[in-house]
Amino acid sequence: MPGKDNQTVLQVTGLSVDFHLGKATVHAIEDVSFDLRTGRTTCFVGESGSGKSVTARAVMNIVEPAVIREGTITLFDLEEGEELNIAALDADGPKIRAVRGARIAMIFQEPMSSLSPVHTIGQQIIEAIMLHQQVDKKEARKRAIDALAAVHIRDPESAVDRYPFEYSGGMRQRAMIAMALACEPDVLIADEPTTALDVTTQAEILKLIRELQDRFGMAVMFITHDMGVVAEVADDVIVMYKGKVVEHGQVVQVFHNPQASYTRQLINASLGLEEAPARPVHGQREKPLISARNVSLNFPPQRSWLGSKGSGVLALDDVSFDLYPGEILGIVGESGSGKTTLGRVLMGRYQPQTGTAHFSDRDGNSRDLTSRDSFRDKQVYREIRMIFQDPNSSLNPRMTVEQIIGEPLTVAGLAKGKDLRERVAKLLSRVGLSPGMMERYPHAFSGGQRQRIGIARAIALDPRVVIADEATSALDGSIRAQILDLLLELRDELDLSIIFIAHDIGVVRYFCDRVAVMNSGKIVETGTAHQICDNPQNDYTRKLIAAVPRPDPLKRKLMPPVAAE
């Protein structure tokens, strides 16, 4: 729709949103102004808490319990030539409800929890259609099926009657998009729509949004913290920091001639990951610490009351690898590739049917991690520790930081009382937290700080191997870099070996010495991080690498190049 392109459809001026917490007032965003134009994508970047999501919600006037203090949000009806100030409307009134879903639609980060678990996909899309279009149920259902077909969901006729939990993550996000676009809105707000997805799925979703934008000519407000994604999809970029817009410009200008120091910081953090130099290979000539050979694990078929179904899932298929002392081994792959299962096998959580995984412990004994007996005396648990993905749910909210970090020490009977406190204090300062924080509970910490607590807990027993399962996936760019640096320091200082399980191949080049790429339970390729990233041999690896967005709008891989202005 070339005629509809590049017209201002939404204009925000001087927007400020406040949270009232008791007597205190927190300014969530202050004096934010921007335009959204048809056919163009405006990216909002910044760390969590910078006000990106609040801005997006303000555009729909759903900010409760916060309030829009001042500013205007003008929505232009391009056909009728009318204007509507959204900021001035009653937040639950008929006028704003006629806008939501019909003229401005929204998709969110968590495709699972953003859809009602107890309604079918179809019911949820049909509801949106019938709210805004004068059609009967049958016609609405037909349109819902069309919408699902438009987002390339296979077999939309039957998919429409399925529940969200029967969809995969990428499918759910497609269904969300179908729902958002069912009424052909002028503005699509996408709030971190790909953050929870694998790189390959992310690439598909980004392409899909672009394709639909070309088709319907809507303006897209795209919120993300990933500079690589920004470089791929943005026409215009707005950088937010602590509730304020610190930079606003066209994508090439923002990336290649950033004005604000905060923008430069964001770009450097992402480039740091991208352009890390090759580093000396660690300890390859020594005897491997863990040596896994031909490990296969078949999850038995689920037993239901109808009897057993299928032949089970082959989670690990003939997996072999070595972990050398002092080495960081990355294990990458999409979700479902078996990488987390592999980590759990090494921790004795599952016993594979075939194969061995020899671990030479501190006393020089060889223990087979595939056998339950190796874990009996708890020695292995002292030497191999884990760090988990979600820093929120991997710390017990009812325990103080002292109790959390001290627990492995107490369980191992290594320290108690004053001695314990001293050791916890040391561990806290080691991971960059103040020992004075010992008495606090996890909720008093930010995501990055919580992950530091998780790391302190992992190194409390002076382990030799740390398995980090997606340890940085839930963190923002700059915080992610800090945590990776902390792990690198600890590796050198404590002579750790790290198995780094990740779906984000972008951090692997920066962080890992060697990488094993997994697909459907198999290791398809192993090599140094640079070799895997720069010269992948396997088709699957190539596909994975190609899907990683690069933080440079002039080197786009997924989208058409930036148009010359």
Partner: protein
Amino acid sequence: MTAYILRRLVAIVLTLLALSVVVFVVIQLPPGDFVTSYIARISGSGESIDQATIDALRAQYRLDDPVIVQYWAWLKGMLVGDFGFSFEMKRPVSEIFASRIGNSLAVEMLAVIVMWSVAIPIGIYSAVYQYSIGDYFATIIGFLGLALPNFLFALVLMYISYVWFGVTITGLYSPEYMNAHWSLAKFLDFCSHVWAPVLVISTAGSAQLIRVLRANLLDELNKPYVLTARAKGLKKSKVILRYPARVAMNPLISVVGWVLPTVISSSFVTAIVLNLPTLSPILLRALLSQDMYLAGALILFMGFLTMMGTLISDILLAWVDPRIRLGMAGAN
């Protein structure tokens, strides 16, 4: 689904068998039997009873047979619908059941309906307007309802209605309707009595349900799908009823499971204080007087109701929540 239900039913039968053994053994555990406690009561009131009568009684109730023989006779009887004979009330157990189970069911079902219809709107209000004056009010009343023992509430209610209104609220029927056939007049009389036990029983129950629903709904209200529904353009009140409230309803449905056995057990004290012609006071009396067939049948019946209740709530949950339904079929 049918296979699932069948399997559960088989499990219920097996559990009941096991339960019958336990029940029988437990009832036999206290020293003595019905006749000894009968003698104790007779001599307690100053009369005496001769040995011949005692022997006749023992023979009549077959109390001197080995336990296994007694159990087997009891079980065999039950299989053909004969639940034994109540020594105390001198009537077959099944007859006692028949005369009282209707009352029990009526009182408990009414109480459950009241519980739900009070708890659902208040619970939703409390969650949506968390920390509002209305929420605090509901919370205070709720905790009072929870904290106040049922029997005390019943006594206070009796006192107030007698002193202030001159009405006795014990029983379920006025004396003149006690043995009358059902008629409009009897029904109205029933209504004028039944509100008291229903009020007493449902107060504590709804207080509990309000807390459960409020807590669940508070969790659900912050889920992203609520925002999705609002972003569609739905009205806020509609969003809440259609999405989070529906998901938060699960614990209320599981309540059905424990409501059924309460037909006998929960309103124990209330029923005794208010002198209700329901099953609960009978159970207490039967246990005190070691009236073993009556007590055994009642406890077994309670076990049966518990298991049926659980089954019904499981089926209802599966019907309401697709995650459970499809999970049951082994679909993931």
